[in-house]
Symmetry: C2
Subunit: 251 residues, 2 copies
Amino acid sequence: MRETDFVSGFARGLKVIEAFGETTPRLAIADVAKATGLDRATARRCLLTLAELGYADYDGKFFVLTPKILRLGHAYLSATPLPHIVQPFLDKLAEEVRQSASASVLDGTEVVYIARASQKRVMSINLMPGSRLPAYCASMGRVLLAALPENESLALLKQSNLKSFTPRTLTDPVRLMEELAHVREQGFAVIDQELELGLCSIAVPLENDRGRVVAAINIGAPAASVPAAEMAERYLEPLKGVARLLKSLLR
Amino acid sequence: MRETDFVSGFARGLKVIEAFGETTPRLAIADVAKATGLDRATARRCLLTLAELGYADYDGKFFVLTPKILRLGHAYLSATPLPHIVQPFLDKLAEEVRQSASASVLDGTEVVYIARASQKRVMSINLMPGSRLPAYCASMGRVLLAALPENESLALLKQSNLKSFTPRTLTDPVRLMEELAHVREQGFAVIDQELELGLCSIAVPLENDRGRVVAAINIGAPAASVPAAEMAERYLEPLKGVARLLKSLLR
DNA sequence: TGACCTTTGTTCATATATCGCACATATTGT
DNA sequence: ACAATATGTGCGATATATGAACAAAGGTCA
């Protein structure tokens, strides 16, 4: 790609949108400039553009994103076949095992939920399509990382901010790589309260018709009702069953 | 705002993202140019920029959005307090009445789901945060339109593509305005299979602490198990109860 | 209170990058 | 093989980014 095939004004604008986050819903111009590394004048122009187009509100001091911004992400969720294909299978699965079932793909060091059938909320975190979790300590993340060539998964682990969410969280890259090898071997991953105390989950990869791993599905359950040791014997077959059914439907 | 406070490259790029939709997941350069009205060269530069940044994949012919694009919408969902505040109330409500409960806001002529607690799927459409429905024939849409000044709601109806989803769909603007007056009067809206045969729903507005309507919540139920006439007597009080509790929490 | 300092927002001139056109090339379908 | 359609590229005209200078708001302390 040539230098001139890149619209930096567009790239800067996208950076500005991403500056808004969980902890920073209301941003002044200077905040955005700091968060994005853009010049204050440039940040201001991007923000005013967002406001002009109705993607943000501006009260003269702070900018706030409007729901119109959801059109952008929705373009993916509605346009991509995967979420639509997977959803009914998750619904059936969730009802069958009476636990939440989800599907996700990898985006950098994070898993991104693309579909979900929630039975009953067991996590303090509220997950929905578009939600993100660090891959290294999520069951679907382990499965997706395990599907990558070793050098790539190692690179992603190194990029990750490996912190302990609970006393059980694995954070040593070496131990994590061993665990990924184990996951690859056995074809599924179990997480025992590494992300949140009281929550266990089990995930399997979803392969497309050519055998490439394109996503992962999981079942989450309260540790109190389903000890980690029982996750596999209860849920592995239902998960594998869905993966088998989906294999021919995905490309 | 001055002319120079607008970054048209950014605006063009956003248009390109929105060109991807339900029926058009894979777009070639010329498709995007046609859909957006942009010059081919410009569309190409925007698309290559998206690909370069990892928001899209390019196989040399077609562009497809990647899950990274969800970061943009997620910036809103995670940054805006409303979805987080409302979610637990929806969960409780859905469990209590054993039906799906949702919350939405208005974006132009559409309602946008910002939170949802699904009990069991009764609709053929799969709704999730970010999903959109035409306001004129959705219960939350009626409530949100009714909360606007008459000239604004009329303007939105005129902008809407008023089509019949089912034989029961109201499409006459005059009848719709009468219905909105009725909804405003009684403080809730009931939809009886106007969007999809077999689906009824009832919605109430969510006011903030200053009395401004900031969103709507609804309960959807299969017409077979809950006739439209019974929607109000069964679900109006639970919905009103949630609205009352939330009033002091919203601003 | 008021003088001073700091932070934030806005404006401007100019160097730089992007747009859109026209043309060249490649791909597709018949 | 040809027409039709789609994609790639060079260039002048136009739009945008930059960084410094200015203005305004907010905070601090005597």
